[in-house]
Symmetry: C2
């Protein structure tokens, strides 16, 4: 674990770079906006894959979330270690070691897990772990999951022993970044049909389906308004990244604010109109495009390499000047850092360790 | 820092996933091949940005390297902490905090640094640190650096106080991944002309230029054969990634072997011919393309998301099967992990901590 690049009480411009900066005011407004839009209508189970930090999970719960989701057993371990008592691993967990770790975790907290395969379900049952089991329904994600139909019923019937059938995981990840609001809504309407059809099928087979969970920051109000989901799993809403910002945002979805930044320093001015900053793709993940330059409308981050970024435009920043970048994609960017440098009114208020950084297994 | 996903003595198929696996035999053959091709003709200063691990740096030195390069002060700190006594930060270091840390490091080891700006050079001089200073020459990289000409002479004249003018940093990063060997050679010939011209200019101005350093794994033999470089800085040769493998390889460059892998597990088999593995873009960086599937010629890793990868083809792997992937780009992939799981003859021989993982500032 690296040392923090800042200390509490420093001014933002004194923070060493690159640093992952969290604007606490914007972050808290995002927490409130999520709860205001959806809180009274469904359960909120915030996705911790985005932030990997129990400090943030605790604040999400303080704002009304009932717990968190994780994608990995090791992420769930970090959350339970950090005091979170209700964790859904919104993913299939396959392999003897992982299942043993999941079972150990279920002794310490309420743990849910997803399945899409009878063999895997048997392994989970044989572990004797007390787990909430959600069947993952394929609703357009084209990744894991069981298509709607009899296969869901067959799998639900196999949930026994210490396992409890908790319901359906129905997440349409591909819909989240579709730019057009109308197209996102249409995608979720199709997913909602699949969910309703599956719930009716389970009901006809006298199988109780307590919870349907899913949805992300780009669509969750459509899931809420459909009435087909009981619980939503937004993650990115806490930070908002440059890629999400390219979506069309309008009611019923609130427009979340950018709260997460990479602070960088101009380390070279090799030519007129060109500044090289010390934040490259090891400082801001470029899988969903380049970072954008914050509140400097004449400047663009035009290309990247491992440790360098190129900023072009006017007026060019001076050598040594510090520049805030909005990451292209927040989740993998967070995963590059050990610390959030939490800032309010231009000063470092706190340093939060990203304890699930690198929790990949 | 995460716990290691393996223990010494385990079989590879017992290692939890995703895990970063180093094939020790291939790694050692790569160390030997580099030294065999270039070792007698120039100094080798291996680039530690690739591996971020003093255990590997020590082995590079045991095979003949005179020290390492780093891109960040924090990387250099990790190397010195790990016992490496000769480190060149092959990058500009700008800002009071970074320069103070560099100065502190120069009390503990021989430290070099690059400059391309007189103001920055003055800040380094004012720190009173004893540093080897290399002027970075722009030779086609289009990043930092001073173009060949009088500006280099002017800057070299300003190197004074505890600073020592050690020579030129001349790295053509863009040439490394040009696919055609002939085009790579031509790019380095142009860079060599710029280097020779600059050396002659310095000589005419009675400025001694002790060392020209630069070159990467994709071109270094062209730098060696040009006679214009005294020292090379290859990094990726230790691992070889899928992107480098797409280069045309022929004499005078040896063909390095893939030594670095991401071990993944099939976690879902949602459809015929489709397997989902638990290694997505947080496990294998996709900035230079998808990982390739190792020694399974019918299979391709076709798409990725944060925690999932899609493998398509025949024969499809079974649920729970472990699959080795060759990362698209080794450097940012290494930066996602805390441990190398070092394997020989199918068994875990050692676990090496990646102490400069996340050393971004």
């Amino acid at each position: 674990m690296q040392k923090p690049p800042a200390s509490v009480g420093q001014r933002l411009d004194e923070v060493d770079t690159p640093a992952l900066v969290l604007d606490l005011d914007a972050f808290e407004r995002n927490l409130a906006a999520l709860q205001r839009s959806a809180g009274g209508r469904v359960r909120v189970r915030a996705h911790a894959k985005t932030h990997k930090c129990p400090e943030i999970a605790r604040r999400q719960i303080a704002f009304g979330a009932i717990g968190v989701c994780c994608q990995k057993v090791s992420e769930a371990e970090a959350m339970v270690e950090g005091g979170i008592q209700d964790v859904l691993v919104s993913n299939e967990i396959v392999g003897a070691q992982k299942i043993a770790r999941l079972a150990a975790l279920a002794e310490r907290a309420r743990i849910g897990v997803c399945v899409d395969n009878a063999e895997n379900l048997k392994d989970l049952r044989d572990s004797k772990a007390k787990l909430d089991v959600y069947i993952e329904l394929e609703v357009g994600m084209r990744r894991c999951g069981v298509p709607p139909g009899e296969a869901v019923v067959a799998l639900a019937r196999e949930v026994s022993g210490n396992l409890r059938f908790a319901g359906l995981q129905a997440y349409h990840g591909r819909a989240q970044h579709v730019r057009s609001l109308a197209e996102r809504k249409a995608a979720i309407e199709r997913a909602a049909s699949a969910v309703r059809e599956t719930k009716e099928l389970l009901k006809r087979n006298a199988i109780d389906c307590p919870i349907v969970t899913g949805a992300g920051s780009g669509t969750y109000m459509f899931e809420v308004e459909s009435g087909a989901w009981d619980e939503i799993q937004p993650g990115s809403y806490v930070f908002m990244d440059a890629d999400y910002a390219r979506n069309e945002w309008a009611a019923p979805l609130p427009r979340f604010e950018h709260a997460l930044f990479v602070l960088s320093t101009v380390m070279s001015r090799p030519a007129a109109g060109v500044a090289i900053v010390d934040a490259g793709l090891k400082a801001s993940s470029v899988d969903s495009g380049m970072p954008s330059v914050w509140q400097r409308p004449g400047l663009a981050y035009t290309r990247t390499s491992d440790e360098h970024g190129c900023i072009e435009g006017a007026p060019p920043p001076a050598l040594g000047e510090k520049i805030l970048l909005v990451p292209g994609h927040c989740d993998p960017t967070v995963n590059l850092y050990d610390w959030y440098v939490c800032v309010r009114n231009g000063k470092v208020e706190a340093l939060w360790p990203i304890t699930a950084r690198g929790a990949v297994y």
